[in-house]
Amino acid sequence: MARLRNKRHALMGTLAAFAVVVLAACATTDATTDGTTEAGTDSITEETSENRVVTVGQNPGISQLNPNISTLSSEKVMWNLLWDGLTTESEETGVQPELATEWTTSEDGLTWTFSLRDDVTFHDGRAFVADDVVKTIMFVLEPENASPQRSKLNNVMNVVAIDDTTVELTLDVATPLLPAALVDVKIFDVDNSDKINETANGTGPFVLDGFVPDQELSVLPNEDYWGEVPVIDGIKVVKYSDQVASRAALESGTIDIIWSVSFDQVSGLIDAGLTAVVPQNPSQASTLGVDTGSPPFDDPRARQALSYAIDRVTMQAVAFGGLGELNFGSTLVSPKNEYFAPDEVIDYSYDLDKAKKLFNEAGVTEGTNLVCWAGDMAPQYRAQCEVLQQSLAKIGITLDIEVNEGSTWAARFYPAGKEYAGLIVPNYLSREPAPLPFVVSYFGVDGWSPSNWPGNAEYEEAKARVKSVTATEDIRSAFADFQRITSEEQPTVVVMNVAQPSIASPDLGGVWMEFNGTIHVEGAVIQ
């Protein structure tokens, strides 16, 4: 009898377990296909016919919400959700007014007056006034705040509020493209910046719903937005550390878009019917960095030799899935850019004879050992090292490959000024495209490139012209000089220009990407 009872218990237990699994399966199916399940604030995925929430999967996540100290490209996704700037970048028309309605400049180009909207409120209901602009710009200009936007505003000497809707900026050097420099300066509640991760008190089209650092950011439409109120019911940015997991989530509809997909996965995802989101005019560049302050790459011939030794065609196929535009001139101006000057740059097509000759002249002879210092953040770095290793081996140079996790990798050569003799560092740069002048500040005096290239008088003269000229021909001439000098000097070796794509569900519309990789999902719609 006892045995029978035990068996009955066992059977009931089995049935109960089966019922739990079936219930779970049904619950999941309901949540994802029938759309009848509403998740609470801790949920990652919720999408019903009434509740259209766009979910962005990305790695890394968002660590903090202050756009003016943000250095991670992954954090840029929130910039245009929670915040507005005086100006903004539009997909169709480029730089255009946002919180500013118009601006005027003095004849000498040193004084800029911005008129501001008078119908804007912060998310907490407080009215936006000119003083907020002043405080934000002062915050950005304060060196100790380490704002990455400061480098674009370093000509700003003073900023004052003329009245509640007028701001005046005084510059020390005429800066024709100041409105472009202000796109990434997002106006925020400086007086309450210590609470920014809890409140995210901006003026943007979405308000903060929840934030778990490095895990999930969820925002809801700002019903009091001065502009067009978003049509969707919210956006979630969810961290997906694993590429395979994020791909599976996208294919199953759990997420709507993956930000920054590794290059080797792109073609497979497009073949699966998904959509690539890339900028029209990408300015990002794949580079090989060296320390120009230490042997052997303190000799420009060694840097030129390295550029000749790069089999860019193979590298593009192996490391970048065939995407992007090869940059044989090896400068930070893309060959597709209208200011590209093909006659001014050296053609660094793959040529091992030239590479060997130049290496020998620079004292890099057969038997020399170099190190390719790759980061493990993206597979293309190692692949680039492997292609280069094969090439250098043919001219008797041994290239050891060392792959490191992100901080170890970066600590070896960031920030500028560190010595890393003999290292070749695959990297990925997001610099603004010509005619925006900011790219020239990367090198030379006051530059922050870890290549440590100090520049020269000719370069500084070209840099000053790039920053100040206004006529198209003058800009073209100044950028031609920039390209000629950097192509000869090779402060950093440029392999190609390629945008890190995002991949979206075909049902998702209204998403686009700026030239520097900043993704705009604020206008997203689910079709």
Partner: protein, 336 residues
Amino acid sequence: MLVYVLKRVGSSLVLLAFISILIFVALRLLPGDPTTFSLAQGDGVSPEALEKMRRELGLDQPVFVQYWNWISGVVVGNFGFSYFSDFPVGLLIAQRLPATVTLAGAALALAIVIAVPVAVVPLWLRSVWLERITNVFVALGLATPVFVIGILLVLFFANFLNLFTGSGYVAFTDDPAAALGFLVLPAVTLALAIAPQLVRYLQGSIRGVAEATFVRTARGKGIGWGRTVSNHIVPNALLPALTSLGITVGSLLGGSVVVEVVFAWPGVGQLVVDAVVKRDYAVIQTIVLLAASAFVVVTLIVDLLYGVLDPRLRVSTSQARAPRSGDTSVIKEASV
């Protein structure tokens, strides 16, 4: 017993102090610091700004001062702040702990549900072939990385059959049914990763007990094999296997890190992975110390429980007192 408990607690505290020093020093030996990730790669960031941040974070102080500042806070429950989000570390952990506890609890329960029958049934049926098949699957389970199990389950059950959700999380407090749906695949993955270990422990324990004299005695008295297994072998074999629970908790903690990454499960594992990448010292130190504490506490509880559950150990305690009383008969009986 009290002396034993005090000794065990004392040695556990010394161990935790040693671990706290080890993790603190090891982190400082790694290349880079929090400023490397957050600032050094930014456009035009000045050395002064980097120095200011290091000063604010206390990284300019001698290491022993930094350690004292941290550990004296930990003792009173102040774990410090994340260098990146400025959130208190305690809050960051609290935000993620429910997810990790849910996952680990479900996986442990599931692993036990899987492991006990797998270890017992071949013995019960006295089937060599079933035992061999079991061993093959156990070896396969031990050899397969947990992320492979996870990805295979996602591809089959989420993408192919569309039966479960492949990734994500819903709190049980928000929607129990949906939460269960999200939990199934990660919990099964983690359970499949730790169940083979449990099976191995149980098998070893069962083999030892099955050869014991009291089992032969029971069989000699005419007790059927089924009753011998269920009433004599399994209960006695479960007890030694209990000691493996501490090791299993260690595997759970390690495995959950991987499972959380694969399933975008917002738990403590993902938090620590991020913190390591960014050198978010306060977060890493605290999580490692808390995980070690959990491990030590579980081991301690298991050891104490073992003493409570196993009458022989209680008798052994009497044994220590016996010579003073001059009565050795109890010892003889116990050893029989």
